[in-house]
Amino acid sequence: MSLDFLSPRPTAQAPARSPMVPGAARAGAVTEIRDGWEVIASFGDPAGEAAACRESVGFADVSPLPKVEVFARPGGEFVAGTATRVGEGWRCPVRPERTLLLGEAVTGAAGITGVRTCDLTGTLAALVVAGPAARETFARFCALDLREAVLPVGGFRPGSVARTPGFLLRDDRDRFLVLFGAAFSEYVWEVVADAAARLGGRPVGADSLPATKTEAARA
């Protein structure tokens, strides 16, 4: 294990870095600085990455996704296990008094006063697992029932993922977003890579992800 992190070299830019970047870099990741984050843009093979997402399974680090936790008793009814789409983001109910806002839904937290909010963007890492074999990939390290009849699009499940506490959201028919503690990132990356490789899958860059959304999800 390298101890380089103890003596960081000063640079003109100091981007936030997902803990999955080192593992991805060993797999040939090409990173770019976007919105203050070092983002895994691709793995140098856009056609291969798109094919993996289309034919088997691709997984991508999306840790820069904004995540905010809101603690408040909402006026509306608490519907466990069902997230609500807010633009390109999601509002995910965890408990009656605890809600997780993802992506564009975070902007809705800006105007909230009188409740406790907590930015979890750096605390929770995130992976998108997409493709026809995505469910089969999860079946190798996660006991959650992901059948479409049980977990339709928008289904949200707090639970154990690869034996670590996490959250799982089905954000499209063959596309899942999984959130877990950033400290477990390298381990989870390895677990997912191992499971996906046996199904013909591979890591993909963030640039390949828009193509994994169906028309319904884009609308």
Binding site: A80, G81, V94, R95, P96, R98, A143, R157, P158, G159, S160, R163, T164, P165, G166
Partner: protein, 100 residues
């Protein structure tokens, strides 16, 4: 040994998702004697049969809830948030004097 518990918020999950919080006890009120405090802290009924217990959904929503589980068979009769739990049926060791 594994079995399934139902989180009141998240639904059924394997028991490894949860943390065990021990059997339900009643905190002594007023000015408890050292013997009562000692009993409250160190003594448990440890029944062989249905027992009311605290659990926490550690890997999920993080909620603490109550469950009634048969300690001989691990059959879970019900789970509920504290405010929704059925009336107390488990005598606590302090008031029942069983632990003395």
């Amino acid at each position: 040994m594994s079995y399934v518990l139902t989180c009141p918020n998240c639904g059924p999950r394997e028991v490894t998702d949860f943390g065990f919080g021990g059997e339900v006890t009643t905190r002594p009120s007023g000015h408890p004697s050292p013997r009562e405090l000692n009993t409250y802290i160190y003594f448990r009924r440890n029944v062989a049969g249905p027992q009311r217990e605290w659990w926490v959904h550690r890997s999920g929503c993080g909620a603490w809830f109550l469950a009634e589980r048969d300690t001989r068979t691990n059959e879970v009769k019900w789970t509920a948030l504290p405010e929704d739990a059925p009336g107390a049926a488990t005598p606590d060791p302090v008031s029942s004097g069983e632990a003395r």
